[in-house]
Assembly symmetry: C2
Homo-oligomer: 233 residues x 2
């Protein structure tokens, strides 16, 4: 039986191998939720970059540029990091270059995997079905917050582990702990995540609407996959 | 209000400051449980060292030498890492040099804190009372397993956070997640931790008796504190 494992923070990635694995990158609030929303609304590709200036440089190549720092949209950028911005009809067929505090860095640390896919509550079941078809060992990488473990990404990891239990064996205690947390959370996901430090930190930024939306399970069926540095579906 | 925070792995210690804080080092299976048991049975001091050869060298200075690697006692050492070995009457008044896979390394990374104390389920309430008296910011450091997060140390952290909730505010999502896990676990702590990868890994080493003992809450009142490199009570 193949294994499923969870890396709770990008700062623990040195402990996990990615070679031959299906890696699922998760940054529920809000990078991967926004990516999934964008693809569900017809975006043709998202180019994740680590640095602000590299993102800005993509404007000249015809990309829309998108990103946040400390939870706020970068002033001269086309888009921030709220999933509601990724529903606009004018995004259909467009390419977006995206930089975020945590999500992009998690993708960068996953390079070398058999495949890198983007997970969120919004596409939970689609991701699970994709992973069952791929049938590789799985590593879920939680983007966290500046290296620290966060609640929302861990609970998502637990939800995905829960969906795949029985088909994959657990790699260490992290998937077990994540699944327990999901069990605590699933009766009232929004109430549970309202306690998280990220929600409190972004309280002033209309995070509650975003958070409620990001907690919608299986709204979309898209599974973004990284191909030659570009996320596509 | 002072804060309580949890570092889920020694490999995340670069994200946390220790200066001015009361640091609680926890390695439930089995280093800190054995330390607490030893002090409760009259051991006069425990000298934690990282390397096997440094531990062995302490023999010439009159120390008993103790330690494990991969969960097994080092063959030429006086003691291993089972708490039952730390109950022997002949240990009264003795000094022990101890090296373990994970616990000692967590102590080494805590140097510079206002105080470093040793926590286990065995002395949970005594540790909580000590921390309330000290009234510093608190950082609980889980020893984990070779850098990975483990279930038993995280659940202990959650139990201690639970005891101190209301008196200290939570520093990030890690204490919140740990407290949720403790809430899941507390009805059947042994059953919950039986699932942990460490228990499965050490299955052949009579870990079950050790584990049951290490899950005994408030058996002892001793609070080991590090003074000039030596743990004392």
């Amino acid at each position: 039986m193949k294994t499923i494992d969870v890396c709770l923070s990008p700062d623990l990635m040195h402990l996990y191998a990615v070679e031959g694995k299906s890696v699922v990158v998760v940054d529920i609030l809000r990078a991967t939720s926004s990516m999934v929303t964008g693809f569900a609304h017809g975006v043709s590709g998202i180019y994740p970059v680590a640095k602000l200036e590299d993102c800005r440089a993509m404007k000249a190549k015809g990309y829309l540029i998108a990103g946040e720092r400390e939870g706020e949209k970068v002033p001269d950028f086309d888009l921030g990091n709220s999933p509601f911005e990724y529903m606009a009809p004018e995004l259909t067929g467009k390419l977006i270059a995206l930089t975020t505090t945590n999500g992009t860095q998690a993708i960068a640390k996953s390079l070398g995997a058999a495949e890198i896919i983007i997970g969120a509550f919004l596409n939970l079941s689609a991701v699970a079905e994709h992973l069952i078809k791929s049938n590789n060992d799985i590593l879920i990488i939680c983007a966290g917050w500046k290296g620290k473990v966060n609640l929302e990404d861990t609970v998502f990891a637990g939800a995905l582990v829960d969906k795949l239990t029985g088909k994959f064996s657990l790699g260490c205690d992290a998937p077990l702990a994540a699944r327990h947390l999901y069990t605590c959370a699933k009766g009232d996901l929004i109430g549970f995540l309202n306690e998280s430090s990220h929600v409190k930190r972004l309280n002033k930024l209309n995070i509650h609407d975003d958070m409620r939306f990001c907690c919608t399970i299986d709204k979309y069926k898209v599974v973004p996959v990284l191909k030659d540095g570009l996320l596509v579906v």
